[in-house]
Amino acid sequence: MSTETLERKLDFIGEVDNLLHASTGNPVNTCIQCGTCSGSCPVASGGYMSHTPRRIISMIRANRKEETLRANTYWYCASCYMCTVRCPRGIDIAELMYALKRYSIWHTEYGKELIGPTFSETFVQTIMKSGRSYEPVLATSYLFTFGLQDFLQEAATATNLMLKGRLPILPARIKRLENFKRMVRKIVPVEEK
């Protein structure tokens, strides 16, 4: 094998295809552009995505990396997997969206108006600290991004949940937290914030 082959950089579809994908790879190149994914997507069919999933796949195949990463599509995927179970070519489209989320976080190339990336990072940080998730921290970190009316509604709902005993006052914590943190550090070098 020549050095040239070894040094060959993967094109965008090669990168996306091989983003671990539960250790099997994803056959994005076999897409026939039938549009079943877009038609099945509750977010795209409501008109809330800048590009439909079908279009995103087409853009990946055309090596249009910047345009793909700038799209809000993958951050607006609710991971309902309707596209995945219906794709006639067996492409796991929801996992492809997850892969793009990870890719865009590593490269910090997502749209700055999106809440998804920082929400994900806050969520994971919370788990790293205590081993369990804690709704009040997650929700309140994002309240300020809502409009006034949404903010008031959310606060009213939270109050009602609190009155019904459905909101935790203190975060839960696992017992073997030190072991847990060492375990996590074996996988990813997380810094605690």
Binding site: S23, P42, Y48, A78, V124, I174
Partner: protein
Amino acid sequence: MTRKYAYFPGCSLEKMARSYHESALAASRALDIELEEIEDWNCCGATTYFNIDELLADTLCGRNLAIAEQSGHDVVMACSGCYKNMYSARKHLVRDADLKEHVNEALAEDNLKFTGSSEARHLLDVMVKDVGLEEIKQRVQRPLTGLKVATYYGCQIVRPRKDHEDVESPHFFEDLMVAIGAEPTNFLMKLRCCSAALLITNRTAALSMVRNVLDSAVRSGADLIVTACPLCQVNLECYQTQVNSDFGTDFKVPVMYFTQLVGLALGVPRGKLGIGSELVNVSPALAGVGEGGR
């Protein structure tokens, strides 16, 4: 015959969906299902670890699976999100020896080892398949006759495909409801997404998705929506006020857990099923159902 399982409640069932936890335990007990909570479990990752790191996601579920394996039983989840994550992580780890080795190296930090000996199951599936509809029917003390229910599957309990099950028109949820005497409605959006975490990350899209599901349930003539997932319950119940003010609708439909309805039919008192902690009052829909009922 008592059936034993390891039980993974998940973070939502600790507080936000406490009534699901209580009713899962009570209804299971009434069916001779013994659920033993696994010790010191951690968060399954919801729909969010995968956004950051897939290997980490599999490791965190791997830890729960390894703890559950020590019991010698299959592990049962009531939350569909936890179920999907635990099921998928187990599948990845069983299929890929290298991945398993890598994850086990990390698990060794907590003196644990994943082998794959325990299957990951959903409680609804355990009731339908392991206990069986016939046995459930025989144990019913107060059939929920006349109660019209919209069986809301949502996503993760059926998707992604776990085995060879019907993902386009499943009916196991309706079958369970029929077994306890309730009447499932023709609920067209029973498999449509509740919007999950989009309520935080894309509110406009999320509220319209919640509206669509509520609308479909109400149009089907249901007295209430029944779910098998705490996130679906919260999204469909707690955001009705918001949906009503945004879309000029008038939704006031109760959203209950299947374990609460199963419990009622088996004669478990309402107090043991966490009934009363809802934001949308369930009493009118349940008038005459269950204890002292029809």
